[in-house]
Point group: C2
Chain length 248, copies 2
DNA sequence: CGAACTTGTCTAGTTAAATAGACAAATGGA
DNA sequence: TCCATTTGTCTATTTAACTAGACAAGTTCG
């Protein structure tokens, strides 16, 4: 409702093909609720964007491929129901709890496990000495089978040696912590930015080129404020809205 | 430090020209601190991305145009110093205060002023009746002359009739509020997402096509929790990192 | 200076994107 | 059933993007 219109604004020679610009604009318009149920006809859309009908068809074909639209000869192009998760970020952020009411299944999968030495940045974030051995876990979180986020997590290797196995067994960070004796934890700080998804993220999150991710760098700590986890989480921007609740 | 590498991953037939994909990858690599001072030579970059040298040159030309790089014949391509602002989002979020230590000048400019009727979404966010007259102000915030964010703000028109003039005069939301008798305000909630910038945002924020914005939808209130402002703010993702401090 | 590197410019050819128009095939309603 | 409207498919042409190679022009350093 921010006053946006589907302005027929496509730029030529911008390095982004017209059909992709149009696909992006249609996707956003649907997200904004401008279109519902049925799309306008291809000829109408072509006129609106000031391009040939075949160019619009290429855009629609891409969105059909994405699963957002469904074209039926003789009828028109239908808009498929799209769900967008709302993920709360608070002092007590938990992946599974956050999406509990919005999805029927959640799971966290371990995709990589490494041991590295703390550089200056990690050392200060986790409050350990430079060069201390750290455990680095790469995870992918899904809701209803759809990848929502992927994260790279750092822990003190000495204290959390069994973390990888615990995450694999429980499918949950919170439960893995519990197995290792951490019954509660809080989030100290979160830094957010957004950018285009890189190759690794596109693979893990099953995204198309040109997709946008939100990157959150967070420090988790025990309730007394001692850091235990440094996490860089990438959310698929078109699948999730981050909700920051400010406690009054 | 999230383990990213400048993997030579460019996708053909993706609707995004190779030179633009490469420009995006280089921009991100510089932001990640992978390159400093001088870029590798064009021939090395071409080999890395698996494309022709002329394609790399097109990418570099775009980044030179952006002001991020500077090519010198015979010497090479220099990386220009780039500053990224860190913008804190807390219960007491203030634009000018947030960037005070990072920039020598801040200003907020009023670019549009409208009166609209509250739809159901705005009415519930602001706690007013459906159809109540609202003031809609479009603002652009700059730091050191660089556009950082643009916002669309809604206020109860009856209570904040002089808001537009106050913002124009003071160049600050906080001071404008003060002129209208609101000495303090807090942020109730913030919803974040990210996407490609649309035409309007590219114009206001002086962005290139393909640039990413973070969209924050926030409700501000008086200290007792009564909503007074509904704001949709778009941040230029490559110019700012949002920092969410979780109060312990 | 001169060798070894860099970016800048040129021509030529290939591949992908976009335009243009015509017509087929399916749908839904009068 | 007939007709208007929709998406689907085809051919042809133009324009932009990419590749390939050669060479000029500027910088650095021994």
């Amino acid at each position: 409702m921010s006053g946006k219109k589907l302005s027929g604004a496509v730029e030529r020679r911008s390095g982004v093909a017209l059909w992709r610009q149009i696909a992006d604009a249609i996707r956003q318009s649907i997200a904004d609720g401008e279109f519902e149920g049925m799309m306008p006809g291809e000829i109408a859309l072509a006129a609106r964007f000031g391009v040939n009908r075949h160019t619009v068809r290429a855009a629609i074909a891409a969105l059909v491929e994405e699963g957002l639209l469904d074209s039926v000869q003789g009828r028109g192009t239908l808009i498929r129901r799209q769900t967008r998760f709302t993920f709360p970020i608070t002092r007590r952020t938990r992946f599974s709890e956050g999406l509990a009411g919005q999805s029927s299944s959640r799971d966290i999968r371990l995709v990589a496990e490494e041991r590295i030495e703390a550089d200056s940045m990690l050392a200060s974030a986790l409050g350990v000495e430079l060069g201390v051995e750290l455990l680095r876990l790469t995870l992918v979180s899904r809701a209803d089978g759809t990848p929502v986020s992927t994260s790279i997590n750092h822990f003190d290797a000495a204290r959390f040696a069994g973390m990888a196995a615990a995450v694999r067994d429980t499918g949950s960070i919170t439960r893995a912590y519990a197995e290792l004796g951490v019954t509660d934890y809080i989030r100290l700080t979160t830094e957010l930015t957004a950018r285009l998804a890189d190759e690794r993220e596109r693979l893990l999150l099953e995204l198309k080129p040109g997709a946008v991710v939100m990157e959150a760098r967070a420090v988790n700590a025990t309730p007394d404020g001692a850091p235990i986890q440094y996490a860089v989480t990438c959310f698929a921007a078109d699948r999730v809205t981050l909700k920051l609740d400010m406690p009054v």
